[in-house]
């Protein structure tokens, strides 16, 4: 059974300017531990779709199942990382942020601290456990956000263009780190991006989305050995293929 099943999901917004289609008739499945990227230009509905899977938006039609059960709103089986690195709580240290989900789950304090530190180690920030977010750089804050989303062990990790606001060099480092983290934790990941190279680097499969109306146009598997080399010929071939599917 696929881990995540998206059945014919549509969302229509009611705006003062009339009804706007956010996303229409999106259907696809995602297997356990698969890394899937939603790629497309602005307005194609990829963020909308991610938010629906997260449970923050309710679809006008269609259904989403995780582990066979239909989702109703947000839940602790899914972790989410947003693009805005101000998503961390400024009034808690890095460790305090990461431990948040565990607190909500009622995990006792010593256990919490241990797990939080472990996850900070996973993203290579254990030395900054007691720092407040405003003392950390953008890239470091995003790493803490990833650790926070993973600490309470959700089965799914949802990421909405998490590295888009970082400079190119930091972004490359973060992509490598994410690939390592995924290899170690084996979560099912749904990753939204408009950056084709990023999608080819990270994903097992890419869902190409197009706007007007927002739909899943097609799916492109990425069969490259990891670790992937962005400068290799096969990599660039895949990129070209994706660009073709997006453009035409």
């Amino acid at each position: 059974m696929p881990h995540i099943e998206v059945h014919d999901v549509s969302l229509i917004y009611d705006t003062p300017a009339g009804r706007v289609v956010g996303v229409e008739h999106a259907s696809f499945d995602i297997e356990q531990s698969e890394f899937v990227c939603l790629v497309g230009p602005s307005g194609c509905g990829k963020s909308t779709l991610l938010n629906i899977i997260a449970g923050f938006l309710v679809p006008t039609a269609g259904e989403i199942r995780i582990g066979g059960k239909a989702i109703t709103g947000h839940g602790m089986d899914r972790g989410i990382v947003f693009q805005d690195f101000a998503q961390l709580f400024p009034w808690r240290t890095a460790r305090g942020n990461v431990a948040f989900g565990l607190e909500m789950k009622g995990v006792p304090a010593p256990e919490r601290e241990r797990i939080a530190l472990e996850h900070l180690r996973l993203v290579k920030l254990e030395r900054f456990a007691n720092a407040y977010p405003h003392h950390l750089s953008g890239g470091m804050q995003q790493r803490v956000a990833i650790a926070r989303a993973l600490a309470y062990n959700p089965s799914v990790l949802l990421m909405d263009e998490p590295f888009a606001a970082l400079d190119a060099l930091t972004r490359d480092d973060m992509q490598k780190l994410l690939a390592d983290v995924w290899r170690e934790t084996r979560k099912t990941v749904v990753y939204v991006t408009h950056n084709v190279a990023e999608a080819v680097y990270l994903a097992d499969r890419v869902l190409v989305m197009t706007p007007h109306p927002g739909t899943v146009r097609c799916q492109v598997p990425i069969r490259l050995e990891r670790p992937r080399d962005p400068l290799s010929a096969e990599f660039i071939e895949h990129q070209k293929e994706l660009l073709r599917r997006l453009g035409g």
Partner: protein, 266 residues
């Protein structure tokens, strides 16, 4: 050797700063003293700094000044505590519930632009002279900046924090305590600061309206009868000092320990 030089440099810098801060006061003080001694204005109306200081000492020793000051500060604390609790509660309700906001906002916006002191005679009429009127008026009038700022703060809690917290399993009361309150704190503290300044202003005015028999405002106003300008001026100085002290001792440390430490405010 280097560290001694550095320490000396630091010390002299601090001395320099202290002198620079004191300089304007020295100049103004000197001008005042000269004007007072030359008796440009009648001595009763324009006392020398010496007599002002003497009045201060005299009243402190006799216990009169501490009594006035204590009564004023007590009223301030009670009135402000009232305003803070009602103000924050109302502001939070308005920020979280559209219904509460729709119902409360028109009433709050209408009452807010009216200076608190304008209600003083009304309160005196309703509750009679004395502590109750003063405390209620202070509580009422200083609640408005607190309500408005808290409301703004709760609404300004970043969406990305709320969503993250929801995804992390927080809900209802835990969402409120762990995310909304700390998130709105910079605004709440600003509101409390403004409310406090408001409370102080109104209290002094109410005490002057002969609502009480002990209090700094009353002391100053009463001194007018006997042309005791020295008492009045030292009363004014005491009021200024208390206000400044409370601000430094109470608000600044709270701010430093919370929102400044978290980088939410500088």
């Amino acid at each position: 050797m280097q560290s001694i030089k550095a320490a000396l440099a630091r010390a002299s810098k601090r001395w320099g700063e202290a002198l620079r801060t004191a300089f304007p006061f020295v100049v103004v003080g000197a001008l005042w003293e000269v004007a007072a001694r030359l008796q440009i204005f009648p001595v009763r109306l324009f006392p020398s700094l010496e007599s002002i200081a003497a009045a201060f000492v005299r009243l402190t020793i006799s216990g009169v000044l501490p009594h006035h000051a204590a009564d004023t500060v007590l009223r301030l604390i009670v009135g402000f505590a009232l305003a803070a609790s009602i103000g924050v509660a109302t502001g939070v309700a308005m920020g979280r519930s559209r219904l509460a906001e729709d119902l409360a906002l028109p009433l709050v916006s209408m009452a807010a632009p009216i200076p608190g002191i304008a209600y003083a005679p009304l309160f005196l009429l309703w509750f009679g002279p004395g502590n109750i009127s003063a405390v209620l008026l202070v509580g009422f009038a200083s609640a408005f900046p607190i309500i408005l700022n808290t409301w703004t703060g709760v609404k300004a809690v970043k969406d990305v924090w709320l969503r993250s917290a929801l995804a992390l399993g927080a809900d209802g009361r835990r969402l409120f305590h762990e995310v909304i309150l700390p998130g709105a704190l910079p605004y709440i503290l600003t509101g409390l600061r403004l409310g406090f300044a408001q409370a102080w202003r109104i209290l002094v005015g109410v005490e002057m309206l002969a609502a009480v028999s002990w209090g700094l405002g009353w002391m100053i106003f009463g001194a007018r009868e006997f042309l005791n300008t020295d008492v009045m001026l030292e009363g004014v100085a005491v009021i200024g000092m208390i206000g400044l002290t409370l601000e430094k001792l109470v608000f600044k440390p709270i701010e430093d320990f919370t929102v400044v430490r978290w980088g939410m405010m500088t």
